[in-house]
């Protein structure tokens, strides 16, 4: 299930006049994963997302979704392909002239689903996002979180192979953000839904993403599974998730450990070897389904065997020269 690439973006470039929005972007999203693209505004992540369903046509490069090269499709086929790509939006983009049920029915109308079938499917979708009974309301009667739930139900109407999320929680308060992210996570687990989301909030990446790409200046600086990046020395993701004073003082050691945070590896090292370890800073985060900690320490004494021991125990040890 984790092997098949649902989205494959290669060599993507997008120019607006002389401005380079995307400068050679490659992205691979595997089936069933939640992939986050993280970056400041202006980094190009929104353009990237909109290139995935060709709302923006790339200047160069290819976009393959579910095995279909979208850049090669004529407009009728492209529209058909888009029906299998769900999208949710920062400001929900609901039709104010339609009821909640009418909004969810819209993509089904576009697909030509018969009326009776539509009604059945709408009820099912509203139930899935926890809004059964609200079908007759108009969007302006709903809270932000409820509006985004309608957006999600609408995006799922065509049984999409992938859901694109354009800053879907950025307009929501923290508690509502939490509940919408939980819903996305649940849909990912229950339906095997692949999600590509863009966000400027590290929190979103930390709480739901399996993989991440960090963007800046129209390029991807770092990408991969979060669990792997955490174990990569010098990873920018790790630095951003665990903010420690930079630059690290000369001679200090930064330890990154995954798994059971209760495991007394550090005190074990102190007992086994003739070293003193003092903690300069650190934190522990719940990440990619486990605990990850990062600790800045200074080690004095017989450091070499102690460091070897820590490495052997699976910690990522980075020594600042």
């Amino acid at each position: 299930m984790w092997g098949f690439l649902v989205i494959q973006v290669s060599g993507l470039r997008k120019l607006y006049g002389d401005t380079v929005a995307l400068d050679g972007v490659d992205l691979r999203v595997r089936e069933g994963e939640i992939y986050g693209v993280l970056g400041q505004s202006g980094a190009g992540k929104s353009t990237l997302l909109r290139c995935v369903n060709l709302l923006e046509r790339p200047t160069a490069g290819t976009v393959t979704v579910a095995g279909q090269d979208l850049t090669a499709l004529p407009s009728r086929e492209l529209n058909r392909a888009r029906q299998r790509i769900g999208m949710i939006h920062q400001h929900f983009a609901l039709l104010s002239s339609r009821t909640v049920a009418g909004n969810v029915a819209f993509p089904l109308e576009v697909m030509g689903v018969p009326r009776a079938e539509r009604a059945r499917r709408v009820a099912e979708l509203l139930d899935l996002v926890g809004l059964s009974g609200r079908g007759g309301d108009h969007p302006h009667q709903l809270s932000g979180g409820q509006k985004q739930r309608v957006g999600i139900a609408r995006a799922l109407a065509g049984n999409p192979s992938v859901l694109l999320s354009d800053e879907a929680t950025s307009a929501l308060d923290p508690a509502t953000t939490r509940s919408v992210l939980d819903l996305l996570k649940r849909l990912n687990a229950e339906l095997g839904l692949t999600i590509l989301l863009i966000t400027h909030e590290m929190n979103v990446v930390k709480s739901v993403c399996d993989s991440v790409a960090i963007m800046s200046g129209g390029r991807i600086e770092e990408s991969g599974a979060i669990a792997d990046l955490i174990r990569t020395p010098g990873s920018r993701l790790t630095r951003e998730i665990f903010p420690l004073p930079e630059p690290a003082p000369s001679g200090s050691v930064t330890l990154t450990f995954t798994g059971d945070p209760q495991r007394p590896v550090v005190s074990e090292a102190v007992r086994k070897f003739d070293v003193e370890i003092s903690i300069l800073g650190g934190s522990i985060e719940e990440l990619a389904g486990g605990s990850v900690g990062r600790l800045r320490v200074s080690i004095t004494g017989d450091t070499a065997p102690a460091l070897a021991f820590l490495r052997e125990r699976g910690l990522l040890v980075e020594v600042t020269p």
Binding site: N53, L55, R76, L78, N79, R80, A81, R82, Q83, I85, M87, H89, H91, A93, L94, L95, S96, S97, R98, F106, P107, E109, V110, M111, H138, P139, H140, R154, G158, L164
Partner: protein, 218 residues
Amino acid sequence: MTWDEMTPLLWEAAGQTAQMVGWSTLFTLLFGLPLGVALVVFDRGGLRPLPALRSVLGVLVNVGRSLPFIVLMIAIIPFTRLVVGTTIGTAAVVVPLTVGAVPFFARLVETALREVGSDVVQAAQAMGASRTTIVRKVLLPEAFPGLVAGLTVTVVALIGYSAMAGTIGGGGLGDLAVRYGYQRFETLLMIVTVVVLVVIVQVVQSLGDALARRLSHR
């Protein structure tokens, strides 16, 4: 002039005004709505950008909007004859009324359609909706309250234009006020006609406002 003398005159004139305004509203809707949609759809950054065609339509609309109605009515007499076979009478007035109101209404349609958020249009594109579907199921329904408001303003303008219809023998309330009130010094009839016109415009505007408000779900 007594009330008994005035009443039939007023009824007849009101009927002519209603006829002129009614028919021209219908035709304005028929031609102005598609023209307004075209102004938006063919624009740069529109659903189907055709800047050259858009410029031509824009110029045509501006020409139509810049002619004072009384000049337009006379200037297009050959066209009126071509369409209805005559240049005088109520039917003949409907042609210039329509020609005058179409560009006016088209601009109001354009404005109303531009009020529809681009995010909603893009969401529909992302769902794989065709351009026709987007116009039919997104742009027009979302802009509907604005379209109703625009039509109301157009009807009021048409009532105003129709007052000049006397010039080419169209009759109506405006013509009544000019012929009796002005040329025959029937001040009372003049006042009554003005009151009737004011009341009609009030009623049309209030109905339009109420309908637009009812339709709006923002």
